[in-house]
């Protein structure tokens, strides 16, 4: 039971860390990594609930889910990296543009 909490709390901390990174890092690569940290946190949580009471029986369902989740996360990361590279190619920047989109009204 004790171990479960360690894992679970670590998982949630990881999730929050990733979220923090996503929010506060401007560099795209860092953002993508932060997302992966979040994903890692979630997967860790799944792993932790597969065997909450440290007994011999391990629930296979969360593990299957983690496997699937990793696949999903990898593909998304790959795609995001692709996009980030294209943006870098086009603009030479590693950040997202956040300007106000309204130039003029028509009164």
């Amino acid at each position: 039971m004790h171990g479960f909490y360690i894992y679970a709390i670590t998982a949630i901390l990881l999730f929050c860390l990733g979220l923090w990174g996503l929010a506060f890092h401007r560099n795209l690569l860092r953002k993508i990594v932060a997302l992966n940290v979040m994903a890692g946190g979630v997967f860790l949580f799944f792993i932790s609930i597969a065997n909450p009471d440290q007994s011999g029986e391990v629930d296979p369902v969360p593990q299957a889910m983690v496997l699937t989740g990793i696949v999903v996360a990898i593909s998304l990361t790959a795609f995001a990296l692709c996009l980030a590279r294209r943006i870098h190619e086009k603009t030479g920047q590693n950040e997202l543009d956040t300007s106000c989109s309204i130039e003029d009204g028509d009164g």
């Binding site: 989740g69 998304l76 603009t91």
Partner: protein, 486 residues
Amino acid sequence: MESLLVLVPLAAAMGSFLAPGRGIASWGFLTSLAIPALAAGTAMDVYQHGARRISLGGWAEPLGIHLHMDGLSVIFLIMTALVGALISIYSAFFFKRDTARHFWPLWLLMWAALNSLFMVSDIFNAYVVLELVTICAAALAVLSGKTESLQAGLRYLMVAMAGSLAFLLGVGFLYAETGMLDMFMLSWELQGGPVAAAAFGLMTTGLVMKSALLPFHFWLPPAHGEAPAPVSALLSALVIKGSFFLLLRLWVGVFEPAGITSHAAYVLGCLGVLAVLWGSYQALIQPRLKLIIAYSSVAQVGYLFLMFPLLCTVPEAPWAEKAWAGGTYQAISHGLAKAALFLAAGNLILSTGTDRIHYMKNIASRLPMTTFTLGLAGISLMGLPPSGGFVAKWMFMQAILESGQWWWAVAPVLGGLLTAGYVFRILGYAFLLAEKEPRMLPVPFVLEKIPLILALCSILIGFRAEEIIFLLQEHMLWAIEVEGDS
């Protein structure tokens, strides 16, 4: 038949990916012929026999994948089929060769994912298909390859991914609490408590982010505004509805019976009202046509969230059926109308070569059909009779007044007014006489007709509300709980 709904577009996606030749659009055509027929068949089935569950591959409850079919999913399926098919036909005439090569596999894959999302009964599978939808949608959004669209697409992707991860963490919490993933078993098993509440918060926020409800709407206007017209239509009409559908399922099916939602629903209601007002207001001041429509989506999504305080605060509320019907109707009619609007906007951009409404003068006499489409779709969005939007507004309004939570009425009333404001802002320029004859390209026949058909559909569903409401009321999610259990 139900699995065909997923398999057909999936196969077509593969086909179009593997054979991206001259006839790539025929994959889309074939799918758009098949899916509406399949969806209609499923709908007839549900209409006559009630909701059903199907176990894929014969696996038993906890492990197998189940498809769940009730009135709600059927209605979303049909809406997706209709909108998807018409947009497919439009796209076949819209995209040039090289873009079509990317478009068709992505879109058909997304169609498959959407169809499965509407039938899914398992929250983890829901996560998977939702991610599938997301990745396809993000890829579609960057189809034009312009810098702005790339940035918008990436932002969308990251927000959606963060949302999905929150959802997934919530799934984990639920599984930790109950040890099961199936929504309908959860609805029996789940009790309140901190873990369930945390799962509730995470899942809701994740889905809210993906549905672009007010504070998280920032990714939507650029993503929808920069994409090519049919893609914007797909994103607005269908993709947002996917995550909203899931949210609705979870709230009504899982969290409401657990009694978690009764206070939190007000938060979503408030955000909905704010979204309606804010989105409409933003739409009112945007200079670009597609941004107007995109912000209009922000507003219309807000309407949908009014369902929650009406459905999930008081158990067994007598007005729940009306709110339920109203919200669903809003989702469908918005899907149809918004698709029509985006496609019509695509025509306008095609013809005038600009996205700025200042330059879209005198289109009323040059493109009367498109102007008419804008008007019709606008009517549905405004909720003027007789249209799908009106039915939604009527039902909503009744539920709101019956429930005594009259303050929600601000959204339909003021929102409708503001909607009229921006719709007629577009139409106003359409009627304005140009000082000098603007150069206008002709718009192909089909491209003009498809949005018109969509807009007409969004009007016409207002006339036959009876069947749809029957579908919703007689076969609502909770009506089959016993059957699902047995």
